[in-house]
């Protein structure tokens, strides 16, 4: 849940990058970390295995600047994608304000995408979130791979985007679509905060 400090006029929101293993969640954060001025970001924390697979989470705090008179900060997290890390995914998902679902565009990974999306839905439901209203955007990563290996954004929409969410083609290594995805989820999260109109 977003935290709002009315005395110092600060807002802090939590966004989680979710998706199957090796879909590019950590790569999104690395790209953002590399592009954002040091004064606007904190240290990127990665709790990873020796082979650089996410073990618990990656964490990147960002200072978005002043919005509607509030200094606005976003905390970006990733979850470990492998199926057997569901317990840690649930922990990272606690209190999240928005989710970026990073799908792997490769045709052979489509079952993994679906399984992870279903897992996200289950975990949000367990936390009492209304999944129809919850801010989620989809990112179809690895669209730079050869055409014969990947699905088009239309094909991915057909199978993954049954809620008609905003979706973005991406190549997270080179940064294509990374900014657009972050902009979109930020907007959804803040719109929800504004539409709620009030916060404790």
């Amino acid at each position: 849940m977003s935290l709002v400090n009315f005395t110092t006029r600060e807002i802090t929101c939590k966004i989680v990058y979710y998706g199957p293993g090796r879909s590019g969640k950590t790569t999104n954060l690395h790209y953002i970390y590399g592009r954002v001025p040091e004064s606007r970001r904190g240290r990127m924390v990665s709790l990873a295995t020796q082979t650089d697979r996410t073990l618990f989470f990656d964490f990147l705090p960002l200072d978005l600047g002043v919005i509607s008179g509030f200094t606005t900060r976003f905390q970006l997290y990733t979850v470990p994608g492998q199926v057997y890390y569901n317990a840690t995914r649930k922990l990272v998902l606690q209190g999240t304000d928005g989710v970026v679902f990073v799908a792997d565009s490769q045709a052979r990974r489509q079952d993994d995408n679906l399984e992870s999306l279903q897992n996200l839905q289950q975990n949000l439901l367990q936390q009492g979130a209304d999944v129809r209203q919850f801010p989620v955007v989809l990112q179809y990563n690895k669209q730079d791979l050869p055409r014969d290996l990947i699905l088009t954004t239309e094909e991915l929409d057909d199978t993954l985007n049954f809620r008609d969410l905003k979706s973005f083609p991406a190549d997270a290594i080179r940064g294509t679509g990374v900014f657009e995805t972050l902009r979109s989820v930020s907007e959804l999260v803040l719109k929800r905060l504004a539409a709620g109109g009030t916060v404790g």
């Binding site: 935290l3 009315f6 924390v45 200072d63």
Partner: protein
């Protein structure tokens, strides 16, 4: 010292005066910062809160798996500094406290005054949360400008 909620400040100040910690951080169980003392950079506080909440949450899950009672307190002893993590149960919510302390104090002192901090917070906590307006409806152009400047576009 910085706090999100004004009513937290007095109990936290008393704790800092009595227990002499180097750093103190109060956070939600999801890792959002409620109050801090001793940190120099806002963004570093967020990292510490994310990690502290992660330690507490994963330890709680281990306790659940084993069928043990929840861990209320976790202590990591270092050679020069140690850290103390503990649950804070309030009437309407649950927070986590992270205290880093050095040779100026002792674990027992931190534990004793932390328990008093929890009591004082529970007494001071409002029973009903006041609700106020947050963002103007036309914030989007400011968000877009902020993100463009963030990414150098």
């Amino acid at each position: 010292m910085r706090t999100i909620e004004g009513w937290v400040e007095a109990p936290l100040r008393t704790f800092v005066d009595d227990a002499s910690p180097e750093l103190t951080l109060l956070m939600t169980s999801a890792g959002q910062v409620i109050a801090q003392h001793g940190f120099a950079r806002a963004l570093d506080v967020m990292s510490a809160a994310a990690l502290g909440a992660g330690i507490m949450a994963s330890s709680q899950e281990i306790a659940v798996l084993m069928g043990w009672p929840e861990f209320r307190v976790l202590v990591h002893q270092g050679s020069a500094r140690s850290h103390f993590l503990a649950q804070i149960t309030l009437p309407t919510t649950r927070w986590v406290g992270l205290v880093v302390f050095g040779a100026d104090t002792k674990l027992g002192v931190v534990q004793y005054f932390f328990d008093r901090l929890v009591e004082q917070l529970a007494t001071a906590a409002p029973q009903v949360t006041e609700r106020r307006e947050v963002l103007a409806a036309d914030f989007e152009h400011e968000l877009n400008a902020s993100l463009r400047s963030l990414f150098g576009r």
